[in-house]
């Protein structure tokens, strides 16, 4: 076993750290949360020049050809700096759908402009029941001649308002008992007539939308993967994206500690640093445990994905653990920092919100524990 990043990964991570420290300080994070668009085009282009858009994309499609694990090094830095924006939707969620399910023509069409930073993706998945379960997918795609007619409403679609292409999960076939069959994915141009996008307002300031499809015509060529077999792709992307989200959490957890621990050393009350009080020390010790375990759980799952080993159980384990651990860690940080941490101007609140958003997206702890139980053949 080896718990360390490779030299190249460390360089990538260090570069990302420096870049984001400069480009994405916390005032930019606050600004983007208020901004309607929610990201900076300029910074996006710089990220594209650093090859971050194509980090996992094979070189033949103008990508960097890196591994999933490489990407987690980037994501953890994005989490550290609480970076919001369409990166996760485009590169992780959308990108993984394309890489997993698209044919060569589709890849050649979609991926190079993504890598150049010219095209944004997202995935339109969840509907009104608010879950990632297959039974929640009701949006219909009906074959009419050479086209499919899409009807339905998707919710919580990340950065749909700026996306060029959406991967849409639709129901084409009969439901089976487990609801796994009959789901088909399409790549849809967001400028297609019949699509309307309503922005939602979220606690963490990340951008999500409701996307309505009314008789949206999509060519057969835009079918992604196999007809009626889309759930397999979605399930795999769900688990991989959940691991990617945990990589973000690693960074956020680290940053929360990097705020609370020095605060505890510097802040004096009752004639000594509050960090000299055993209760505060134990809070910090517990934070350290959450942080380390979250890190290794996520890296292990990411490594397994990179190595093409079975990763389903490890992925759900890490999302279940991370969802609880990150939230609890930030809560302890708040308890250590006290009143100051409750202020809008103090950065810890950004991580408080990020922790909850990261916990809820892509399946919360209960959801993934249930998947773990399934993996355990219970």
């Amino acid at each position: 076993m080896d718990y360390e990043f490779s030299k190249t990964q460390k360089i990538l991570k260090d570069e990302a750290h420096r870049f984001l420290a400069k480009e994405c300080p916390s005032d930019v994070v606050r600004e983007m949360a208020e901004d309607e668009i929610g990201y900076s085009r300029d910074m996006w282009q710089k990220m594209a020049e650093l090859d971050w858009m194509g980090i996992m994309v094979p070189e033949q499609y103008d990508g960097m050809g890196g591994s999933f694990l490489d990407m987690t090094a980037l994501l953890s830095e994005m989490g550290y700096h609480c970076m919001q924006g369409p990166y996760f939707a485009t590169v992780v969620m959308g990108g993984l759908c394309i890489l997993e399910a698209a044919n060569d023509t589709q890849k050649a069409d979609i991926l190079p402009p993504v890598c150049r930073g010219e095209r944004l993706l997202s995935v339109a998945w969840v509907e009104s029941d608010g879950t990632y379960n297959p039974e929640g997918i009701s949006m219909t795609a009906e074959l009419q001649g050479d086209e499919y007619l899409l009807n339905g409403t998707k919710l919580f679609v990340p950065y749909a308002h700026v996306a060029d292409r959406l991967v849409c999960a639709t129901r084409t076939g009969q439901r089976t008992d487990d609801n796994h069959s009959g789901i088909t994915l399409f790549v849809v141009n967001t400028r297609q007539p019949g699509i309307s996008i309503e922005p939602l307002i979220t606690m963490a300031g990340d951008k999500q939308s409701a996307v309505n499809f009314k008789n949206v015509r999509v060519s057969k060529d835009n079918l992604l993967g196999q007809l009626d077999q889309g759930w397999g792709v979605l399930k795999k992307v769900l688990l991989m994206a959940a691991v990617a989200k945990c990589a973000e959490m690693i960074g956020g957890a680290q940053k929360a500690m990097d705020m609370a621990v020095p605060y505890a050393k510097g802040r004096e009350q009752f004639g000594r640093p509050v960090g000299a009080f055993q209760a505060v020390q134990h809070h910090c010790a517990n934070m350290l445990t959450y942080s380390d375990t979250l890190k290794f759980m996520a890296y292990q799952a990411a490594w397994r994905i990179s190595e093409r080993l079975p990763f389903e159980k490890e992925a759900s384990m890490c999302k279940a653990w991370g969802s609880d651990a990150y939230r609890r860690l930030v809560a302890l940080a708040h308890q250590v920092v006290g009143g100051m941490g409750f202020m809008e101007e103090y950065d810890l609140q950004l991580y408080f919100k990020h922790a909850k958003a990261a916990e809820q997206v892509l399946g919360d702890a209960d959801f993934h524990r249930e998947l773990v139980a399934q993996e355990m053949q219970m």
């Binding site: 969840v126 029941d129 608010g130 879950t131 379960n133 039974e135 929640g136 919710l155 919580f156 309503e198 922005p199 939602l200 307002i201 979220t202 606690m203 963490a204 409701a210 004096e268 009350q269 009752f270 509050v274 009080f277 209760a279 505060v280 939230r327 809560a331 708040h334 308890q335 006290g338 009143g339 941490g341 409750f342 202020m343 809008e344 101007e345 609140q349 408080f352 919100k353 909850k356 958003a357 809820q360 997206v361 919360d364 209960d366």
Partner: protein, 387 residues
């Protein structure tokens, strides 16, 4: 033993409930929410004048001071009822007032208690300073006696009510050379006095608290509460009253979450049928019940003529940790919908949950952190050694 309110208490509570139902308007609720449930808004004052005219603001005060000589039990029950319907936090009536009643001179009682009881004046807490949070004995604000007044210089922080209140319930240092606990005095300062500057600080719940700067502020000596240099004890007493935490507001939120689980179908079944959700909701309702019992215990102790000891800290700790659990469980139960803010399309329960979730962070910090409460329970309640 008896775990129901007495018939006469129930009768008053019935009246209170009817009053709240008829008098609380959406506009009043909106104002109250906008200022973080501090008492002091325009509509709030109107409402409270009417409410207090029934002597419901401080029912357990003597009649001559504006109360009805009722039990602390009734007083607590009305507080809880109001908190359930529309929370309003009263510094003058519920924190400073009881302290004045206990420690104040007859003059100061006469001057302040009746207006407080009628809801005519509101105070703002003036304790915390940048270097004195958990450790309030480390205050620095200077109050130098000069003839008929004190001259005040210094800085307060996290003084939440100051922008809507009338007076500052202010802890000052009147004898900087005296040892800790013997150097502090409590004063009631008109917030409009020249030399006071209030600077807003915004919390992560979106509400305003304040820094308050005192720059050569002249405060008449009549504003002193109780004895000079005994303020630390008054402050501690007022803190104890602040800690008696009516959880009604979170209880209402909980009831709304439960109703949401009954009303919301997922995969053809109401959320309330989900065994995990059932367990979580049941557990919260159990803890709400436990909190109810240790909340009204405080009233029971006071009605027996005793002063609550560790019991106040226990209830503050229990209630505030429960408040956070309720908000967090609400986030769990509403799932992706929970993150949508008030005013967003598709927001559930008017975005209340995410707001409470952000707000609830402060519960285990203000008025003494959970760590401080546990210290008090161990040292005062169990007499564990401090060294």
């Amino acid at each position: 033993m008896d775990f129901e309110f007495a018939p006469q208490e129930q009768a008053v509570l019935k009246e209170v409930r009817a009053f709240l139902k008829s008098e609380i308007t959406p506009e009043l609720k909106a104002e109250s929410l906008a200022i973080g449930y501090c008492y002091g808004g325009e509509l709030g004052r109107k409402f409270v004048h009417k409410f207090a005219a029934n002597r419901w603001l401080v029912p357990n005060w003597p009649e001559k001071y504006g109360g009805m000589g009722a039990s602390a039990m009734l007083t607590f029950a009305i507080k809880e009822e109001l908190a359930y319907t529309m929370p309003l936090i009263f510094v003058a009536a519920h924190m400073a007032g009881p302290t004045i009643l206990h420690f104040g001179s007859e003059e100061i009682k006469k001057e302040w208690l009746l207006p407080i009881a009628r809801g005519e004046v509101e105070f703002a807490l003036g304790y915390t300073e940048p270097w004195a949070g958990s450790d309030l004995s480390a205050l620095k604000i200077d109050a130098v006696g000069q003839g008929d007044h004190f001259l005040l210089n210094g800085q307060k922080t996290f003084n939440t009510h100051t922008h809507v209140a009338d007076y500052h319930w202010l802890a000052t240092i009147t004898d900087p050379d005296a040892k800790r606990y013997q150097n502090m005095s409590m004063m009631i300062v008109d917030l409009k006095t020249p030399g006071i500057t209030i600077r807003p600080m915004i919390t992560m719940a979106g509400w305003q608290t304040n820094e308050v700067f005192y720059d050569n502020v002249k405060v008449p000596k009549e504003c002193l509460v109780g004895d000079l240099n005994q303020g630390f004890y008054y402050l501690m007493a007022a803190l104890d009253y602040e800690r008696m935490f009516p959880l009604g507001h979170y209880r209402r939120l909980f009831d709304e979450i439960v109703q949401y689980t009954r009303d919301t179908q997922v995969n053809g079944q109401p959320l309330s049928r989900d065994p995990l959700i059932r367990q979580k909701m049941a557990q919260l309702s159990i803890e709400l019940e436990a909190n109810k019992l240790i909340f009204f215990r405080l009233a029971h102790i006071i009605d027996k003529g005793k002063i609550p000891n560790y019991e106040t800290s226990m209830q503050k700790l229990f209630a505030t940790e429960l408040a956070q659990k309720i908000a967090n469980t609400g986030m769990d139960v509403l799932g992706l919908y929970a993150q949508l803010k008030k005013g967003s399309q598709h927001a559930a329960l008017q975005g209340q949950i995410e707001h409470h979730y952000r707000w609830s962070v402060v519960e285990t910090i203000y008025a003494g952190t959970s760590e401080i409460q546990r210290n008090i329970m161990a040292l005062r309640g169990l007499k564990l050694p401090s060294k």
